[in-house]
Amino acid sequence: MEGNQALFKYALRLGDNALILGHRLSEWCGHGPELEEDIALINVSLDLLGHSRSLLTYAGEAEGKGRSEDDLAYLRLERDYTNALICELPNGHFGDTIARQFMFDVFNQLLFSELVNSKDERIAGIAAKAIKEINYHLRHSTDWVLRLGDGTEESHDRIQDSFNRLWEYTGDLFAQTEADQWIIANGIGPDLNALKPRWKQKVSEVLAEATLTVPQDAWMQKGSRTGTHTEHFGFLLAELQYMQRAMPGCEW
């Protein structure tokens, strides 16, 4: 039972990251700076929602209480979501979205590259599918960091400012709980502490190429693993859950 509970929490965390960031990106639909970019952001959003569907379905099965992907996506309260805080931050301007996406993509790419070898067959299968897509996401966000950082004076200053403001949310990506110890010990997922230096190195390389400065590590926000969110999260859920709350059980 202990194992299933840990697996439930683990799949839920991964599923929540994808669901919430996917939802945020979907807000760009019809608002992208140009048509191609509008489509690109929505494509990434769609991929992430696809990952969340597979992961939340699995989480529901591991929990064993009969909850479906929809139950988990639409009918939980704020404190029951465990997505990384950076996923729920508002889109801001395009540079903010790109800085957030890039830092998440680097993390996600490192994580899912490890999950491909998970001893849990379902997780490994989902990861093998997702990693192909995540590679494209990272390439896309890296291109834009280079283009904006090494672009005009204004684009450089604005995305530098985005990185500076978002930096305090990056520590939370690597937060681990007791449930993770079981996950690591059983070879289901990697120790995030080991990914951290690799993440920092990759981010630093791209920022250097983009003529940007890596922000100093200072105070880091935390709390997502225990369901403590930013003040933005309630508003996001209000929109995400509206239909199921207003018309319980409605289906397409």
């Binding site: 489509i39 991929d47 992430l48 299968g125 897509e133």
Partner: protein, 164 residues
């Protein structure tokens, strides 16, 4: 794999079910149909998505079910699996030709696409005039499985079915 006559017939029927977004390509040509079996009185079809979030999966499932029921199969079950993950290598030769004919550049060989993931833009042949002088406009096209390119010679924009 050796298929029985009844299963062979099943594959032939499935080859007539088209991709809802690329109507020249059958689901068999696309490589999303992984298994077609008759187990006792049940017809079991296994499909796999091209991309995790592919919104066409539900439609494909319904189309397969409808088609088989029209052919007289009563107890039809369509299952979706993620593993092994779909790859563009599963698109058949017939499928590649159909894509090209339709104006969508078929995926280039998977091995050369690894370079693309390392940051080098991929060389793609224009499906209209066959020029290699093409440029990528966006890695994401009209659907998740496609990228947007333009031809520098005939100046036509076109979709490229990207390798995964």
């Amino acid at each position: 794999m050796i298929r029985s006559i009844s299963e062979e017939k099943l594959w032939d029927i499935l080859d007539e079910v088209k991709d809802p977004e690329i109507p020249v390509l059958s689901l068999v040509d696309l490589g999303v149909v992984r298994k077609a079996e008759i187990i006792d009185d049940k017809t079991c079809i296994t499909i796999t998505p091209t991309y995790s979030g592919c919104p066409a999966m539900k439609v494909m499932e319904e189309d397969i079910r409808m088609r088989l029921m029209m052919e007289g199969y009563k107890n039809v079950e369509v299952n979706t699996v993620l593993s092994p993950a779909w790859t563009t290598d599963w698109i058949t030769e017939k499928g590649r030709a159909a894509l090209q004919e339709y104006g969508i550049a078929p995926p280039e060989q998977a091995t050369s696409d690894k370079n693309a993931l390392l940051g080098h833009p991929k060389q793609v042949t224009c499906p209209n005039c066959k020029s290699r002088n093409t440029a990528m406009l966006s890695q994401f096209g009209s659907t998740p499985c496609k990228a947007l390119y333009k031809c520098q010679d005939c100046l036509e924009p076109f979709d490229y079915f990207k390798c995964i």
